[in-house]
């Protein structure tokens, strides 16, 4: 029928027209589903790995373990296998049980660490291999789940409950651990978290998942050593036949499993019983609790330990030290002690280096700057001898004048050196010094130079400081004398002495400012060096020691001295002193 055929044809056309988008949508859906499945698969895979990468019981002495942990380079690289090998090689297996474990979560990589000895003898190493194997099998089969935080009925502290399906896939084992175990006393770790498998005293496992639901919401009893009533999701107190208090709780997992957790009031009594009855599962649980301990330890001890180790290494190398930033006071104390020691040592070394440099400079100076006038005099006397022989009295007199000038220069050098030596070697006084009075006294000492140059000196209000008057006289004597000496030719020097004394600053600055010839910036550092001068004796005489002495004195008070100057535009010397020196 053409009409029917037409309708069929139309339908076919519509179908054909819709087919590509439909097919596209279908493929997209399949692709997205596949992607999702892949994601889920990879999440599952990583979860499997996350929980049980490496865990093992070791018998070890804690101190040795801590030292080994701190020393292991694997702590930094995150290579857990290497870390484990390192720890194992370093440990003494006789002292007690320690869990070394590693866990890698999807969010952060936490590697390794330690739990202190549990205080109980754990299975011999041979058995531990079995435990490890058990745990590995559980990890490999993906039968482990993590649960969340619960509040401990014993301590009121938050804790973590961990659930896993034991090998054989039927048993649910729960592990409870107190989160508050991280105490300032590391030794207390052993009395806190531990694990429990649901088992009877004959080693028979209880709590198969298929058996659990009938406990839900109702009264139930564990037929052997622990009788417990579970009413809701809270914790329920029970007692073992021996009278030890035990707390139970249960959870229904998203997967539909039921799980139990238990905490004992007296871990030390309890743990051996668990081991005796259900060695493999209990130890498995113990190793898992160790895993959790290790996780905490990684955060609370491991990182600070690496910082202690880093601090010790930095201390050895004399580098800067970062505080551990741990909640554990002793760990902070150690790094802070390292940091304080390093700072003190750095300060002492800096002072020593300055002294050593001074000693070297003095040795150099003695053989050069102090010897130079003697070679001048030697040449001079040879010439004098020759010219007197020749009867050249005029030249003889000129030579004698040169000789007297050389001797005067020698004398000034020696006096300046003596001044430096006095200032730096005597035990410094700590007297109250009125700086204004002190500057006035210095100006009286400099009367001759002031008269020769016609210098005007304006002294502003100056504070009182606590220090050695000899030092401050030397500072102002040198600075004021320089200010007059390095004046502009044919100009009358104008000099100001002032203070910058803002309570908001932790230094007070004394300023000596002149309008003299100034110093080009490239020589600002050099003028403070021993025997360094910018002018020849013939132009402006000087020893090359004055500013050096000033700098050494100011630095001995923890202060510094600097210059503000340009060539031809005057110079301002700024003595910066710690505010603590100020007398109020």
């Amino acid at each position: 029928m053409p009409r029917v055929t037409l309708k069929l044809l139309l339908n076919c056309l519509v179908f054909l027209a819709l087919l590509p988008p439909l097919a596209f949508m279908g493929f997209q859906a399949i692709r997205l589903t596949q992607q999702r499945l892949d994601e889920i698969q990879s999440v599952g895979d990583s979860l499997t790995q996350q929980i049980g990468i490496v865990s093992e019981l070791l018998l070890a002495e804690r101190g040795a373990l801590l030292r080994a942990l701190a020393a292991s380079p694997a702590l930094k690289t995150g290579d857990l296998a290497a870390f484990y090998q390192h720890a194992r090689a370093a440990l003494d297996p006789d002292e007690g049980a320690v869990v070394v474990a590693g866990i890698e979560t999807g969010w952060s990589k936490i590697l390794l660490s330690t739990a202190a000895p549990f205080g109980v003898p754990l299975p011999a190493p041979r058995q531990n291999i079995g435990i490890l194997e058990t745990r590995r099998r559980a990890a490999a089969s993906g039968q482990i789940e993590l649960s969340d935080v619960a509040i401990s009925p014993v301590t009121g502290q938050p804790g973590i409950v961990l659930f896993l399906r034991a090998p054989g896939t039927e048993y649910v084992v729960s592990v409870a651990i107190r989160a508050g175990w991280v105490n300032e006393q590391l030794a207390e770790i052993k009395t806190t978290g531990w694990a429990l498998a649901i088992a009877d005293r004959n080693g028979q496992l209880l709590g198969r998942s298929k058996d659990l639901p009938h406990w839900d919401g109702g009264q139930a009893s564990l037929p052997t050593w622990a009788s417990v009533a579970i009413r809701d999701n809270g914790w329920v107190r029970s007692e073992t036949p021996e009278g030890a208090a035990v707390y139970f709780s249960w959870r229904r997992l998203p997967s539909g499993w039921m799980a139990l957790a238990a905490v004992s009031e007296n871990d030390l009594d309890f743990i051996p019983r668990v081991q005796a009855t259900t060695v493999s599962v209990a130890a498995l649980a113990v190793s898992l609790s160790g895993l959790l301990l290790a996780t905490f330890a990684a955060i609370a001890i491991g990182r600070p330990l690496t910082r202690i180790s880093a601090a010790a290494i930095a201390f050895g190398r004399g580098e800067a030290i970062t505080p551990a930033g741990s909640r554990i006071r002793e760990i902070n104390d150690v790094t802070e002690a390292f940091a304080a020691g390093a700072a003190a040592r750095a300060a002492a070394e800096a002072a020593l280096r300055e002294r050593e440099e001074d000693t070297r400079n003095l040795a150099y100076a003695a053989s050069h700057d102090l010897k130079a006038p003697t070679s001048t005099l030697q040449l001079l006397f040879q010439q004098l001898d020759a010219h007197l022989d020749a009867g050249d009295e005029k030249m003889g007199r000129q030579l004698v004048r040169i000789g007297l000038g050389t001797v005067a220069r020698m004398r000034e050098l020696i006096e300046k050196l003596a001044e430096y030596s006095r200032a730096m070697t005597k035990a410094p006084l700590r007297e109250e010094i009125n700086l204004k009075q002190l500057v006035e006294t210095v100006l009286i000492d400099l009367t001759q130079q002031r008269n020769e140059t016609g210098a005007q000196v304006a002294v502003g209000e100056l504070p009182s400081v606590r220090g050695d008057p000899v030092h401050f006289r030397a500072i102002f004597q040198n600075l004021l004398s320089n200010a007059m000496r390095y004046r502009k030719q044919d100009a009358t020097p104008f000099i100001t002495v002032s203070v910058e004394d803002s309570p908001s600053s932790d230094i007070i600055s004394l300023h000596v400012k002149d309008d003299g010839i100034g110093i080009a910036p490239e020589y600002h550092a050099r003028v403070f060096e021993m025997f360094q001068r910018l002018h020849v004796q013939g132009d402006i005489p000087g020893s090359g020691l004055g500013l050096f002495v000033c700098k050494r004195i100011v630095r001995s008070y923890g202060g510094d001295i600097r210059i503000r100057s340009e060539l031809g535009r005057g110079a301002e010397f700024i003595v910066e002193l710690p505010r603590a020196m100020r007398v109020t």
Binding site: Y364, K371, L379, I402, G405, Q537
Partner: protein, 136 residues
């Protein structure tokens, strides 16, 4: 007979030393022309002046204000090349400290380093060194 040292430069910040050395040099008859500077910078300015007669020898002090003898030598070598003077002689204050003489040895142009004070024998040594230059 011409003097074995035609042009000698003396660079020393100490005026007394310059005066005394000049006396000694003039009396020796070994030097035809002597130029003195009490700042190394002034000596550099001298070399920058063009033209200047060729320099046979420089007697160079080490410890000087602003620019030391070593700094002068480095500057001059960089600016004027290795032939700015035939010979450079450092005048050391002391032979007790090897710091300066060790450093002086590193310059090829430094043929001698004498301990102060300058003597006629020192000048004769320079003259002998210069006569070696003119031989084939």
């Amino acid at each position: 007979m011409t003097a074995p040292i035609q042009k000698l430069l003396l660079i020393d910040d100490n005026e007394a030393d310059i005066f005394l050395c000049r006396l000694l040099i003039e009396e020796s008859g070994l030097v035809a022309d002597i130029e003195t500077f009490n700042l190394a910078e002034d000596a550099l300015t001298y070399f920058r002046k063009s033209p200047h007669p060729p320099v046979d020898a420089i007697l160079l002090d080490i410890r000087m204000p602003r620019m030391s003898g070593f700094e002068f030598l480095e500057c001059a070598l960089a600016e004027f090349g290795a032939n700015f003077s035939k010979v450079v002689v450092f005048m050391l204050t002391t032979s007790l400290d090897s710091t300066d003489s060790d450093r002086a040895k590193q310059f090829e142009i430094v043929k001698h380093y004498f301990e102060k004070p300058l003597t006629r024998a020192h000048l004769e040594l320079i003259a002998a060194t210069l006569s070696g230059f003119s031989e084939p």
